[in-house]
Symmetry: C2
Subunit: 243 residues, 2 copies
């Protein structure tokens, strides 16, 4: 079973204070780039893997999606999602461990996932389920932590004697678990190279449409100067693929 860090009280408390929790999609700087990868949702069936508070599920219904299913491993997240979207009858939520979940066949035009895949040890298995769950021509659009961000054995900015800031990359080729302290101690993630991620999609039968190693635009920096360090190394990668 995947580590369910989101049901850890300290983690949940910290997570609930992030901009992407309090402000929803608008609080996630990568959202405009991710949104630009999405197909037209009118009349479609949508699956959100790691739906969290359900912000995307709600947005998908507002875009005209016919049915939306949100899965998450965290009961706390799902309770919050239920509270927030009780007025949206086309949305269903269910608890599921993406490490083992079986998905219905050809049930969706879009599978979406935001920052969840890096918690999954056996990603090829999950991608096989996603492929089966999509109709032919259906879209998989997701974000995940970038391997550059995840790889280092000692993550964190380094500042040299001249005040120059850099990201201490190492162990990039050493794939497997990484434990970090983020909101709570001992958060378990799985590092894969970008090549491994993309080849897993290709091997599953997906065709790649777009790979976006997200970084802030000039407008992002003007609005949020603290994003400047995201120009030094990518923290996320956004991917669009088609069955």
């Amino acid at each position: 079973m995947a580590q369910n860090i989101y049901d850890d009280p300290a983690f949940f408390e910290g997570y609930s204070r992030l901009a992407r929790s309090t402000q929803g999609l608008a609080g996630a700087p990568e959202w405009p780039a991710l949104r630009a990868m999405l197909p037209d949702l009118a009349g479609s069936r949508v699956l959100d893997l790691g739906c969290g508070y359900g912000w995307f599920c709600r947005w998908a219904r507002e875009q005209g999606a016919r049915e939306v299913l949100g899965l998450d491993v965290s009961r706390r997240m799902l309770e919050r999602a239920q509270q927030m979207t009780s007025a949206h009858p086309g949305i269903r939520y269910a608890q599921a461990d993406l490490e083992t979940a079986e998905l219905p066949e050809a049930g969706f035009e879009l599978v979406y996932s935001s920052l969840a895949f890096h918690y999954i040890a056996d990603l090829p298995r999950l991608l096989g389920e996603v492929h089966r769950a999509l109709v032919p021509g259906g879209a998989l659009v997701f974000s995940t932590e970038h391997p550059i961000y995840m790889a280092p054995t000692r993550p964190g900015w380094r500042v040299d004697a001249q005040g120059h800031k850099s990201w201490p990359l190492d162990a990039y080729q050493v794939e497997g678990p990484r434990t970090t302290d983020w909101l709570a101690p001992g958060v378990l993630k799985y590092h894969r190279t970008l090549g491994t991620l993309l080849n897993a999609l290709l091997d599953t039968g997906f065709s790649l449409r777009r790979v976006n190693e997200w970084g802030p635009s000039d407008a992002d920096l003007a609005a949020t100067p603290a994003l400047a360090e995201e120009r030094e190394r990518p923290m996320m990668v956004l991917v669009s693929a088609r069955r």
Copy 2:
């Protein structure tokens, strides 16, 4: 015009002593991975962009390629290639600046390029030429310097007070020229993110088949212990695509 560093006497002299010059393909640790991406060459027409000494051109003929054309910006390289392959009548060499070269239409089943694309400022233009030069279903297989290797404003390993080695990544999102001193001072390359490289291929109409951020295998490390640092960060990326 692209910088023609290979005709710089100091650079050429240094280059001629590298294992990949003296030993050919067997002297390049990434060659087995690149070779595994190639289609069957029997009876095919092959174009090598940045052919250098012509090692690959010769190998392609040995694999049964019908015609091989090697292009390079460097006259010194082409002279050496001519000397080395005079006994191989199916190989032609020509001087060409890949920044501006126009390629014949639908003339090749394979376009190959080893460690040349990072010298090209306008890669989308060249990829358009390559797409046009391939027959439908034809393959593009290439290696290029990895953006992780190229991005840093101050490249070179850092070793901290505890003896821990890391690669100081910065400026990853800042695409454009990078000048480094390698074999000769002032070698000019062009940094693009991996996303930009892959999206340029997709935008040109290629479908992606394989992305390999090359790193040494256990056997490579046993044979060449000095390759160990290539596990810390990728130096090259190998890509296979189809028209």
